[in-house]
Symmetry: C2
Subunit: 368 residues, 2 copies
Amino acid sequence: MNILEFLISPAEASRRTGPNDRIVFSSRVRLARNLKSHPFPGHAKKADRIKAYEILFPAIRSLPQMGPEPFAESLEKLTPLDKQILVERHLVSREHAAKGAGSGLILNREETLSVMINEEDHLRMQSLRPGLQLRQAWLSIDAVDSDLETRLDISFSEKYGYLTACPTNLGTGIRVSAMLHLPGLVLGEQINQIIQAVNKLGLAVRGLYGEGTEALGNIFQVSNQMTLGEAENEIVERINKVLLQLVEHEENARQSLLEKKPKVLFNHIGRAYGVLANAHTVSSKETMNLLSLLRLGVDIGMFAQTPKALVDELFLISQPAHLQLNHPDREKLAAEDRDIFRADLLRGRMKSVPTPQEPPARSSETAV
Amino acid sequence: MNILEFLISPAEASRRTGPNDRIVFSSRVRLARNLKSHPFPGHAKKADRIKAYEILFPAIRSLPQMGPEPFAESLEKLTPLDKQILVERHLVSREHAAKGAGSGLILNREETLSVMINEEDHLRMQSLRPGLQLRQAWLSIDAVDSDLETRLDISFSEKYGYLTACPTNLGTGIRVSAMLHLPGLVLGEQINQIIQAVNKLGLAVRGLYGEGTEALGNIFQVSNQMTLGEAENEIVERINKVLLQLVEHEENARQSLLEKKPKVLFNHIGRAYGVLANAHTVSSKETMNLLSLLRLGVDIGMFAQTPKALVDELFLISQPAHLQLNHPDREKLAAEDRDIFRADLLRGRMKSVPTPQEPPARSSETAV
């Protein structure tokens, strides 16, 4: 099965909506699980890894939650471009994309359920939802997990809980995370303060592709650090509460910019629009930052007729692998030509986006 | 007489054309002259300066070359804004604009002839022309000078020629200069090499407002350094020749960019267009650099329906004093508000400029 034919289109993916999706792009709950009496993938010999794989692969593929026709494949069957596409969709980790034979991916049609076999742990199972839907994501992955326990012999200690390759996942093996778009807090220069406060609550704040990556496009991933000593639903509820507060902080920051520095705000958004619509070469990194401002402009009403889905689609298709996929000569595309092709694509798509207008003032205080 | 009512409009001024005006914005020949037996303005006591002024003012005003109704005024009658407007039009020097009582300006209706009284010398007389017209400018100011010598007792030494306050003007008292727009040489990174070569020919290369100023908007002033030991028309011919070479170098640089780095060129011009059309606050300095790229875009055919006069008008009216002049609350305009007003004005005017298009390729080699 070809993963590129399996995946839903970027346009369709971008039309999905969820609660608070002005600010929360997506919610994710991931569980780490391992088979009893099989060495962890990082310590296993090839034969052991394949033995575990052969137990796990059919068990996961036949899970009712995966639907009748999931994508199920060994990673050696995927090209580097296929893997990079999956990373850009957040369906596999960057670490998993580097793996080959003995590692695998099983993904449902809706792309809401993704299971990595032989990543750092035997199983990394994640449920993904648009907007702020941590509870729904948790219930969904919990159902998968319960079902799986009846089929597999999972490594579990009465004292420590689920055993994992890395002690940071020990206990519940849960990672609850959300992707937040926080341009208001960045432009309002409150983001560092907010990150510190969130860290003090025991949550990590990272960039777009997780640990060690930059917060391109003002997109931040917030997730739990601790997996031990707290029940899964408590972790979910706690993070949900923090995320609702972050949403409120971001909304306040945007409102404050609109009231106190409207021209600075319109200037950032207008310039971003101007560059996106007229550049002839643009890097992936710059594009993310420009699209962040365009999305903010859509959110605050500067582009009355432009749906957020268009911007979200541009976020997706301007990333390196998605871009390459759209190029007629995809295999031989050099980085320099990719930047030119990205600009061509953006100029073309931006033709349907009208010149930004100052949003209607909410009160007399918003006038300059 | 009010200088602001006297001056021709920026739109009219920008419609003027001359030879090679794709690259040479304007040509200027200036003569420094002093009265015999009167101390130079910088060394004169107030009474002496006024005595010289009272001889010079009526003599200049009544020159036939000044026409029937020149602008003729003591600088104390001009407001700081009036003076800054004159500096931005290159009709008085920045040094002269700082002067008051005892200094004056006489300007003909066409703004091609401007005489400063009691600048560094008793007389600084200049002829200005659009495009590359050094000979015409020289003939025009020479006629003024010859006429003036019949009316005034000019300080002249058989050994040194015309005596001037600063020895750098001694001899002919002539300064021949042109304002060149050299974005091709700047983008092609050849400008420093060119400046060095021009310096070796005994010519100075300066920024937009003369000595010690920055080359904003890729605009460079080229002028003679030596005023001694060479006849005026020889200096004019020599500089004219150098300027023609510079024009050729700039045309070659543009052609080379079009052939070898078209995307880089279109990218600079496209982005400049995008920012000019969409910024909500923009400094004078950034504006000059953006307009330089817009002008280059017009020159190479990326804006088929846009005349160069529009860009040249924007160059003029986006400068601080001209901008302030157009503001309803001109006296109280803070720098921050000026940048917002400038952006408003540019966005408004840029509505008539269509999205840039890649120019038609001249040969198959120009394709990327």
